[in-house]
Subunit: 208 residues, 2 copies
Amino acid sequence: MTELTRRQRQIFEFLRDNYERFAYPPTLDELCESLGMASRGSLHKHISALIDAGLIEPFSGSKQTGIRLTAQAQRDYAACEHALPYVGKIAAGKPIEALADVHYLPVPALLKSDKPCYVLQVKGDSMKEAGIFDGDWVVIEQRDYARNGEIVVALIDNHEATLKYIEQSPGKVLLIPANSAMTTQIYAPEQVQIQGILVGQMRSYRAH
Amino acid sequence: MTELTRRQRQIFEFLRDNYERFAYPPTLDELCESLGMASRGSLHKHISALIDAGLIEPFSGSKQTGIRLTAQAQRDYAACEHALPYVGKIAAGKPIEALADVHYLPVPALLKSDKPCYVLQVKGDSMKEAGIFDGDWVVIEQRDYARNGEIVVALIDNHEATLKYIEQSPGKVLLIPANSAMTTQIYAPEQVQIQGILVGQMRSYRAH
DNA sequence: TTTTTATGTTCTCTTTATGTTCTCATTTTA
DNA sequence: TAAAATGAGAACATAAAGAGAACATAAAAA
C-alpha cells in the first residue's frame, strides 16, 4: 500500500469526521460540493486511492450508491500513525461502554502487536487472579479468532462484551474468568464473537 | 556520515520538537515559514544534509508530500526525552540486577509521576496477589520515604532489594509480600532504605 | 418494456504545488 | 584574510491536483 498524498489524507479525514452528516452514503457529486470541488473526475482519483488503501469502499459492491468508510478504517488508520485509540470501558456482562469522543493513548511498542490495536479500561474483578484489576488498561489486538488459552474480548449474543480466557472445542466455547468466585460460561460458537486478543496491560498506582 | 553544522542541528531539533504540531508532514515552504526563512532553496540544503545523515526522510519515496523523521531518529528522541531508564531486574532477596548498559523505555505519561522515575523488571512471585507477576515492568518514582500501604522498592541491609508493601511504625518497618506463601519481614528502620515507590506497571502478553 | 437520469469511470489538458539546482551576497569561523 | 556556513532568490522539472468532456451502466421513470 502506497502512502497517501496530502490531499488524499485531507479527504479521508474529511470523510472520517463528517460521514455521519450525510443522510445517505455520499456520492461523488455530493462530496465534490462538500469539498468545494468542481470536477467529479478529479475527486474520483482521490477516492480510488483511498479505496486502494483500504480506507473506504463502495457502499454495496460495485453499485452506484455512494461510498462508505471500511469497517474500522478510522481505527486502523490511527493505529498506523501514532497512539492507540482508547475506545471505552469493558465490564463483564455489559456492552463495551463506548466513549463519545475516542481519544488516543500513547502505548509502548512493547505492549502492542504489529496488528491494529486499541485500548480498553477494565471494570470489575472477573480477571483478578490473572493480575488484571479494576481500572487497568488493556491493549487489545483486533482479531476475530483466538487460540485456546488466550485472553479475549468476546461479544456474546451481540450484546454483552467481556474479557475472559477462551477455550474452544467443536460445538462449544468456554469463557473462563480468572476469579474463583465466578463460574465458567459455556456458549454455542455462534453466540460468541471474538473482537480481540489481550496483548498488553497497564496500571497506574496514582490516586485519581 | 559527516558532522552536522550548527544550523542543521538546530533545524533537526526544531523538527523533532515540533513535528507533531504539523497536521501533515511538513513541506519545505511550511518549514520555511515556521523557521522564519524566506528561501526554500536555502532550507533545501539543510534538509538534504539531514536526509544524508539519516535523520529525516521524504514522507513517501521521492514524492512531493513533505518530510518526516526517520524511525531511527524517532527512537533516539523517545529514548532521550519521553522514556525512562530501564535499570535492571528486581527479585526479592537479591540486589537489583543492574544492566551493563541502561536503555530507555518509552512510558505513557499515565504511568509515571511528575517526579523522576525509572523502570525495573520484576522477577519472582512475591507480589502476585497484588497483580504483579514475574516479568512485569514496574515504573518506580525515585523517593526515599513512603506512606504506609504503598508498594516500595526497598534496600535491606545495603544488600537485598525487594518490592513489597510497606508499613512503618516507631521502631520497626514491615515489608509485606502479596503472596500468602511468603511471610512478612520485620526490620529495624535503619536496616531499610526506601529507593522508590511503585507508580505504574506494564505487562506484555506476547511470547518472547 | 423503453427512455431518461444519476452515478461512477476514464481520459486529456491545464494549473498549481513542491522539490531541486543554480548564482550571488552576507555572515561567521578558523 | 580565506574558507565555510548561511541565506535570498531566480529558474526549472515534475508530481499533485483540478477542470471538464465523453462514456458505460445502474437506477428510476415513463
